[in-house]
Amino acid sequence: MRTQEITVNLGPQHPSTHGVFRLVIHLDGEVATGGTSVLGYLHRGLEKLAESRTYPQFIPYTDRLDYLASMSNNLAYVQTVEKLMGIEVPERAEYLRVIFAELQRIASHMVGVGTFVMDLGAVTAVFYPFIHREKILDLFSMTCGGRLTYNYMRIGGLSHDIPEEFLPKLQEFLDYMRTALEEYHQLVTGNEIFLARTKGVGVITKEMAMSYGLSGPNVRASGVCYDVRKAHPYGIYDRFNFNVPVFESGDTFDRYMVRMIEMEESVKIIRQAIKDLPEGPVLGKVPKLIKPPAGEVYHSIENPKGELGFYIVSDGSPKPYRLHIRRPSFVNLGVLEEIIKGWKVADVIAILASLDIVLGEVDG
């Protein structure tokens, strides 16, 4: 019997496209035969905005890239400017930066994992990670006064030192994390329905992952051991002892598991950082007017979502001549159109969620 395909819009106003992403999908019955992603509903022209802001003034804008990982975005940007200018960062600030970046990784993965499981239909599984994330946000707001957009990192260090009560609270949180992750494994990871829904679904092969330039947990789930923290250590990451989880099959389940294990590894890094945390200032010697020499620089760090890189061209003025951002969510999203082929509508949603995109970053 001859059947016709139907074309359906998933998004921009859809419960599980993680913002205003639109996927025009062709369906043969329940099965997707192809799709086109439509981007740009949240485009704010951040790269262009940077050209009319001074270097420090652009820091708050980086918060709005991947708004679930503002701290890491800050870090990537300020490190790029530091690299351009050759600014030394005090030891204490370096350690605190690691602590905050790793806390941010946990917070971001909590949302990534939670929303992924929610898109599979388990609504309760989104509430528990958000409760854990809330504790991280408390730590952040205690330090810098913000809960979503922190604007904490400064060129040459940090805006504030940590308050006194921070470290005990952090210790408490790290101990809490162990039970929290165990509980989550109990609720989700062993669940047969969850396994049936995720194992073998939306496979990204090693070759595909590399040719699409994926990064972060998505590429590590496909068997490529690439973590910027290990491959091109930035800051003081070479001083810490941690593992990079790598899975082989590249399905949605592996992408979920990589995130779960990365959270444990982040806890390890934070514990080491607390142990070695030196005393001292948190803001180094920085010129009052930040005016980098003419030239260009690229620097990338391992963001929770993948490799976040900033490319800055300076003409010697206090404002960047050109700024480009390698946004991991945007690059990771590229593979979507290819891997949804042949999967059912429900899987398409699961695959999209397993890529863990944030539209603020995709659209820039």
């Binding site: 139907i6 359906v8 998933l10 859809h14 419960p15 599980s16 369906l27 329940e30 499981v117 929610m118 898109d119 599979l120 239909g121 388990a122 609504v123 309760t124 599984a125 509430f127 528990y128 409760i131 609720l187 989700v188 669940n191 329905i193 969850f194 049936a196 829904r197 059912k344 509508v345 429900a346 899987d347 398409v348 949603i349």
Partner: protein, 348 residues
Amino acid sequence: MSVLDNLFVKIAALVRTTLTGLGLGDIWVNLAMVILYLAGILGVMITAALVLVLVERKIAGFIQLRPGPNRVGPWGSLQTVADTIKLLTKEDIIPACADRKVFMLAPVLVLVPTILAFAVIPFGKGMIATDVNIGIFYLIAVSSLATIPFLMAGWSSNNKYSLLGGMRAVAQMVSYEVPMVFSLLGVVMIVGSLQMSAIVEAQSKVWFVLLQPVAFLIYVIAATAECNRAPFDIPEGESELVAGVFTEYTGMKWALFFLAEYANLVLVSAIATTMFLGGWHGPVLPGWFWFFIKTSIMIFFFMWMRWTFPRVRVDHLMHFGWKFLVPLSLANIFITGIGVYLYKTIGW
């Protein structure tokens, strides 16, 4: 205690004698009694549905470490009242492209099978509207009609999400009908009667959940699928199909679907109580109260499941139904048949 035990039966008998005393003909008295029963059942059903909406939200909240709705009235008890008022005064939108007649008819019809099924539910000893001699058979026949309104709604909305949802609803209900019917067959084989009151009466010594544990399990799974509740809520499929078959429904039309969902939940829990959990049997407390407790426990279990599990994918659902539940329920019938026969002939 016996007064309480037969409270509703006594009331019904009183009404009947009063009506006969007024000199009404037999047929008119019977008619009046049926209307009385109907009013009672509708009252119970709607109250239950309204309360369950709140209970469900409270349970969801408690599982998610929230208090649930707690603003309207003490502990949020008037939340559903507020919701009902809102739904009643909502603008009713019928999409321009929809098939208007079918679109209108679907929510009207969605409650009918449920109301019909309630006619044979024994809420207590003697508390049954029409104790037809093919009770359980009638129940199965009627409840399988529930598919049609969903298909009507899905098709007539002229919305792709609704269409997919409607198709899924049919696939799911068709597949889980078979294991559900077979699981109930085991009980019928033991009792040797289709009458609901006889089935409950047969459980005075031992509940059938102990004799038919596998059938009970199959029934619970199939019933969850039959009333489209998570983890089998694929016709609604919120994360992929937005709201599935209900996408285009607003106001009271949507509320009727919602009402039907909860009424169905009560229905399947009541059937589980009747068929497996000994119906109104229980010590000390009045029978209807036991029935209420058992049904509530079943409802809690269904809600608890809903707020724990991810959604099953449509093909897994079909595979699970046909490749696991159907063979299992067939095997259950075989074993029950042999068991009952051995018990009868050898007296073992």
